[in-house]
Symmetry: C2
Subunit: 219 residues, 2 copies
DNA sequence: AGTCCTACGCTTACAACGTAAGCTCGTCAA
DNA sequence: TTGACGAGCTTACGTTGTAAGCGTAGGACT
């Protein structure tokens, strides 16, 4: 099993994991076949023995991210289940910001992705949702989660200090009084100590869950 | 003004517009500097007289898409204003599917983008929203719109017939009974004649607006 | 009229990318 | 012992973004 020469052999899993690590560390744009090979102490072309092409690599990485999302246990109540899964999904997309952009460009879902969606639907259906209402719920929640992750990934800062710095240079460039309300929001809210954009997530999520609960009750 | 030789001169506007047209017609991945030059009957390097680099080009194109979104008129009631603008935004992102992915990778907003955001905030504030509640509303609606557009852009089909075809090959590959609820949803709902994923958009949107209205009333 | 400057488009060149084609060589079954 | 197989390597090609510098036409000024 273990080869007598020093290094353990490549495998699809090792390639995907290394790709994920590289994208996490230095961004998706710096994930090239040559650099990925380097990280694995292998020539670029050797990767093609385990991955059909770069698209296949990205598909596999995307599926790995989906596999990190916690799935609701069998028989869980729909509302906490949806809430937990949405929070878990956002956390996964936040750990791997490049993945949000990939979701849009890669069209063929992997097994973890399919399993994920199927479990969500099961939870809704056993929670009393009709098929059309389950479709509504699924679409609304997923759109919100992806969209939030997309915006979060776009923010060019992670900490409050960085935010302040960015806002500073932004306003310097844009003549603050041309966008008075944007300025107001930034100065009196976003730049306040303790502000955390991530906290917005649960507010909007609960807005949607409230609405779905009402819609379900009206059935 | 008009040069004596045949062709009218390049300009940043012409370059951006041609880029947008090319991306619309053949997808973002086929937008290369050489092809863009060809479309304008110019060599690739000439474009750099009007655009700093490809990133600048993409930023400009993104801002053009934002400029297509209808802004609420002064003094409009917040709820119809938010509704119309969300619908208009989705329509613009649907016309230019590549733009949704760009929003995530491009960090520096253009003037149309800033103006757009500022107008939205103005409408909310004059509608009675406090700054924090306006932030909540802004974040929730925008996340939903982008997320929906992202999912819509991912769908590998445009018409119901194409959808049926795609579903067919997908299920053939994935052993239908491994994902029973996904199968149920697809067969009894998505593949029904007249199904239109786009219709889901307004359902989720109204869910959010209902919630915001309630939150505002509770102030 | 002659001179110069400035824009703008063109040419050439290069490093980095994804990947096709074919090679090498260690491992193991027969 | 042999022969096949498969993982990793080498080489090579076309395409990409863009740096550097050239040519030239038109307008401004003397």
């Amino acid at each position: 099993m273990v080869p007598p020469n020093g290094r353990l052999p490549l495998s699809r899993e090792r390639v995907l994991a290394a790709g994920l690590a590289l994208a996490d560390a230095h961004g998706l744009e710096s994930l090239t076949m040559r650099r990925l090979g380097e990280a694995l102490h292998v020539e670029a072309m050797s990767l093609y023995k385990h991955v059909a092409n770069k698209g296949d690599l990205l598909d596999g990485m995307t599926d790995l991210v989906f596999a990190e999302i916690a799935l609701p246990p069998d028989g869980a109540a729909w509302r906490p289940a949806m809430r937990d899964r949405a929070i878990s999904a956002r956390a996964a997309l936040r750990r791997h910001p490049w993945a949000t952009a990939l979701v849009s460009s890669r069209t063929s879902p992997g097994p973890a992705t399919l399993r994920h969606h199927d479990t969500v639907l099961r939870t809704l259906r056993t929670g009393g949702f009709s098929v059309p209402l389950a479709a509504h719920a699924f679409s609304a929640i997923d759109s919100y989660v992806y969209g939030f992750a997309l915006q979060e990934a776009t923010l060019p800062f992670d900490t409050a200090e960085e935010a302040a710095e960015v806002a500073q240079t932004m306003f310097a460039r844009m003549a603050a009084d041309r966008y008075p309300h944007l300025t107001e929001l930034t100065v009196t809210h976003v730049l306040q100590p303790g502000y955390d954009y991530g906290a917005e997530f649960e507010y909007g999520l609960d807005l949607i869950l409230d609405g779905l609960e009402r819609a379900l009750a009206a059935t």
